[in-house]
């Protein structure tokens, strides 16, 4: 009986007073794991919070940034997620942009910009759809008029200036 208890003991972080309950921490860990698994299934890439990138980033898969990026980000057909620790000072071109951290720079999407709670965007936005959660911050201009041809041409134009890596990302400087 006692052995059975030991065998189901969670391997996650130890519970401390004031921390979420075991059930909550287990469920959040499970959802995080599911997110990571989905990201792997989609072939997504994660830039961790200790990573600083200065230069241009382009890719052909979904990308989550939790670190610092300064320059330009292009994910023509994919989703860019700026994590809660993400700090972006860049011009962004992507299909969908989800912001939980900070973005300073112009954002162009072909589908949607989604600013979540505590997310912040300062810059000019061109996006056919935009969502802002309570507690999010936005400063700049918004153009929601559908101009898919303009967006795709601007994407293609910038695409020619640099080649895209098939399975990864390219940048000028990476500091860990």
């Amino acid at each position: 009986m006692w052995k059975r208890d030991v065998s189901v003991k969670p391997t996650g972080p130890a519970l401390v007073p004031g921390a979420p309950t075991r059930q909550t921490s287990l469920s959040s860990a499970r959802s995080e794991f599911t997110d990571i698994r989905h990201q792997h299934e989609r072939g997504g890439v994660n830039i961790g919070k200790s990573v600083v990138v200065r230069g241009d980033l382009s890719g052909s898969e979904d990308l989550t940034i939790d670190g610092v990026v300064e320059g330009k980000i292009e994910l023509k057909e994919h989703v860019l997620t700026v994590g809660p620790n993400g700090q972006i000072k860049a011009k962004i071109l992507a299909k969908v942009v989800i912001v939980l951290g900070e973005v300073v720079g112009d954002v162009t999407t072909t589908e949607k910009l989604d600013i979540r709670e505590n997310g912040s965007v300062e810059g000019d936005v061109v996006s056919p759809r935009m969502a802002m959660a309570e507690g999010s911050h936005f400063r700049g201009s918004v153009d929601m008029k559908r101009r898919s041809s303009t967006v795709s041409s601007s994407l293609e134009q910038s695409q020619t200036s640099q080649s895209t890596l098939g399975s990864g990302l390219r940048n000028q400087t990476v500091n860990r």
Binding site: I115, R129, M130, A131, M132, A133, S136, H137, F138, R139, G140, S141, V142, D143, M144, K145
Partner: protein
């Protein structure tokens, strides 16, 4: 304190918490403004309040506006916190980068309630400069002074209904303006719609001549 006191206090606490709950109210000016904006291909709209998702979606998707967000309430907060409220008038002179006659509509909500007269005059002059001929200014003016440090977010629920949501700020409402003073303040604009709400707030829609 007797134990019964605790029970007497309960209703008071409840009413305080419900004071911050959103309230809906009708608008006369907004339908007029929207019908005028729909005549433009892509009207340029300047919102001087904080960005709200519903308003952005409404003006962006339904009216096809190009929206500029310049949250002057956060600017006021910064000046109040730094004790530089008297510098607001100079700040407003250089605050707006927009060129003359370049904006089709300005949403000033109840911004003028929180400003002293010199700052009001500078801001009004700047707004009249950037509004295009036959462009609009939508404002709300409170009928009473308040010591509460709260601002009100106006959210568009539909074409004829707005919702108030209060949020904490650093500044209180100043003495209310008389109608003639409001009209004098915007001497280059004419009033095209006016409604006195039950809350004694005056909703005024101006148009540049």
């Amino acid at each position: 304190m007797a134990i019964t006191d605790l029970f007497y206090r309960r209703p008071a606490q409840k009413s305080a918490s419900t004071a911050d709950s959103p309230t809906n109210f009708p608008t006369n000016a907004l339908p007029k403004l929207l019908s005028a904006l729909r005549l433009h291909e892509q009207p340029r709209l300047l919102d001087l309040g904080p960005a709200t998702g519903k308003n952005l979606t409404f003006f962006g998707e339904q009216i096809q506006c190009k929206i500029f967000i310049e949250d002057l309430f956060s600017d006021i907060d910064q000046h109040v916190i730094q004790g530089k409220t008297s510098e607001l008038e100079n700040f407003f002179i250089s605050r707006f980068s927009q060129s003359n006659d370049s904006v089709d509509c300005v949403l000033a909500w109840d911004l003028f309630d929180y400003l002293e007269q010199p700052a009001k005059e500078v801001l009004a002059t700047q707004l009249m400069r950037i509004i295009s001929p036959s462009g609009f200014l939508l404002t709300f003016f409170s009928g009473s002074k308040s010591h509460d440090l709260v601002y009100t977010r106006r959210i568009i629920l539909d074409e004829s209904t707005l919702q108030n949501r209060e949020y904490p700020g650093a500044c209180n409402k100043k003495a209310p303006m008389l109608n003639r003073d409001i009209i004098k303040l915007f001497d280059q604009l004419k009033v095209v719609g006016q409604l006195l709400l039950r809350t004694s707030v005056r909703e005024i829609l101006f148009q540049k001549q």
